[in-house]
Symmetry: C2
Subunit: 188 residues, 2 copies
DNA sequence: CGGTGATGGTATCGATTCGATACGATTCGC
DNA sequence: GCGAATCGTATCGAATCGATACCATCACCG
């Protein structure tokens, strides 16, 4: 029952994405990729991370990125340390397009009348399901530092990723990371 | 946040469907359609209802059904009263395949450790979001008679659909219907 | 009845996604 | 340094998907 709901909601939102992108003749995948890039942190703005996020093969994702690049919606640049790695970011016109498309608008309307508390509860239940599902598939988890096991607080505003060893600013900790490790449940 | 979870869960389940169908070289859509047909009631076993359910165009769905028909997984037969209408049902080999594929198994594992109460709460929240979303898109709602505004109880075991005027057996009321109208919230 | 429009499905076409495979460039282990 | 592994790209073929046109049937209306 819950599974059905999740699938139907996702189908509808996919249809929304299709509608939102049709003006610019963009496919749902393209918008989905752009939405991801708008939220990914410094460790996660690569084709590899995007591939894990979308659940597709790297060849497929490479083509998607090719389209976005040709349209000038993203920029690709080389990593400094590992020159095999390509890093991605939205161009200004990409950000602009995403801002105008407002792909999440329909969802916001749909959930406006649901109490924050119920939303929180539903979120935590789904998050748990997702964690188990991804464990089984050995897939990356994708989450924010605020609830990541690697995150250490150095001072009022400065954090540190215990896995990568970098210092992170406050805003950076609120971006999406594919190295995310779910924090142990403290209430257990 | 909740939207992301829904989308990622749906992506993963879609990947599960792909894996489950790859042995038989069936695409996710094919399995999805079969899953629907396994649960649809007498008003909802048509290409039109399936089209609404999947959120695709009728041409696309027609092709999907063509594949399933050629593979002998479904049967098509004409409606008695309206001869334009085609009705669909799983063939025995279709049922067999669906039974062996167990597409929902991964999901069941993922939600096994979540308390029934939390599942219920999450379900109701998502159901509400879905209702609003579908209202906005003028899409069909899809639900069971047990919570449908048209459903009337005639006796211990016999029900009646107030919209279509037919009598329904108990099992029939637990199937999926695209004429579903969400019952007014009785707790309001 | 006959005719006009609406409706349920199908057929065809082109654009696009997607996976599989092969490949080039770079890095790492030894 | 040399071979193996890794990150990304390129190419090819199969399949989805939407748009459009089309056919058969039904509903409406004199």
């Amino acid at each position: 029952m819950l599974l059905e709901l999740v699938e139907r909601l996702a189908n509808l939102m996919r249809a929304e994405l299709r509608k939102a992108g049709s003006d610019e003749s963009l496919q749902p995948v393209h918008l989905h990729a752009m939405i991801y890039l708008a939220k990914a942190n410094r460790y996660s703005n690569t084709p590899q991370a995007l591939t894990a996020y979308l659940g597709l093969t790297k060849g497929t994702v490479s083509q998607t990125l090719l389209v976005l690049d040709r349209r000038g919606l993203i920029e690709r640049y080389q990593d400094d340390v590992d020159r095999r790695v390509v890093r991605l970011r939205l161009s200004t016109s990409g950000e602009q397009l995403l801002y105008e498309a407002q792909p999440a608008l329909a969802w916001q309307n749909a959930t406006r009348n649901i109490s924050p508390n119920r939303i929180r509860n539903a979120t935590s239940a789904l998050r748990e399901a997702l964690a188990t599902l991804q464990d089984d598939n050995e897939g990356a988890m994708f989450g924010e530092c605020t609830s990541c096991a690697h995150c250490q607080k150095l001072s009022q505003r400065i954090y540190r990723c215990g896995l990568m060893g970098d210092r992170l600013s406050g805003p950076e900790t609120r971006r999406l990371c594919w190295l995310y490790d779910a924090r142990r449940d403290e209430t257990g």
